[in-house]
Symmetry: C2
Subunit: 149 residues, 2 copies
DNA sequence: CCCTAAACGATAGTTATTATAAATAATTAT
DNA sequence: ATAATTATTTATAATAACTATCGTTTAGGG
């Protein structure tokens, strides 16, 4: 069976990029943290464990490359740090997030929610939509409970 | 008739903040650019025209203060710059945006679009929603036309 | 008008990210 | 196989957007 890593390797090759050991190490970390939203710095520190000679700039460049190839999502919740996570295979649009501004946790939602909305907007505003970002800001269960104690 | 500026002054006073000329100048620029989404640097340059002695740090401090008092919205479209615009009076939720990643222009949408969605999400994920950010990323009319030439 | 906390301007410092340049690795040409 | 070319890397300097500090000034109550 072809692994996820193999498919990513092919995606790189088909755009004439090489899968260097550094790039492979970075992808491995992203695979290991699929449910997280890591900053470039987070990724760097984890990659150093399996590939200690890697430089920070390489991690940034790799994440940028993977982002351009739409292999990873790059998001920003307004706190000045970009976060990265592997794109769900087959998903052509961004998923949504619940961002708790009390504890900073991020939960994902995979429901569409915007099914009909996009085509309406495209027509009405003559705007060609390529992607979207929908984030709900509020309090997660844990923080709500904590505040009600 | 009481002006918008007067009401903002009262909002400041009622939270025990002073009304310095610098703060007034900053608010005036925001009023003059209600339809734009200015960066702190943009605001600074414009404020310097009417209040040349003002410092950059003061503009940042003022924008942060106005943001905390919910007089202005602070948004980030992922390009590393925060943008500011006056909150529409009476509007308790954020409006939406069309962000063109070709030319960087930002258009606003004031339709709700998420009317029913929020309560569903709140129930399903036990997440108390306080606000949301919905941005469509794509190509504006002008850029689409330019690319098709 | 005076006083004092609040606010200010100038500027140094920080943080996240990007650019540069020399070195290394991989590919292609000879 | 060896040289030339190209892609990619590491290390590090540079940049951009803020943010903190600190000595000075000022708004606004008394």
């Amino acid at each position: 069976m072809e692994s996820r890593l193999d498919r990513i390797k092919k995606q790189l090759h088909s755009s004439n990029f090489k899968l260097t050991p550094q790039r492979e190490a970075t992808v491995r970390i992203l695979l290991d943290n699929e449910e997280s939203h890591l900053s470039a710095e987070d990724v760097y520190m984890q990659v150093k464990n399996i590939s200690p000679e890697i430089g920070l700039a390489t991690v940034y460049r790799t994440l940028e490359l993977l982002s351009e190839l739409e292999i990873v999502n790059k998001i920003n919740f307004g706190d000045g740090v970009s976060r990265f996570d592997l794109r769900v295979e087959g998903a052509n649009r961004f998923h949504h997030h619940l961002f708790c501004f009390e504890c900073g946790s991020v939960e994902e939602i995979f429901e569409d929610l915007l099914e009909n909305v996009e085509s309406q907007i495209e027509r009405k505003y003559q705007f060609q939509i390529k992607d979207h970002r929908l984030t709900f800001h509020g309090l997660c269960k844990a923080c709500t409970d904590k505040l009600n104690q």
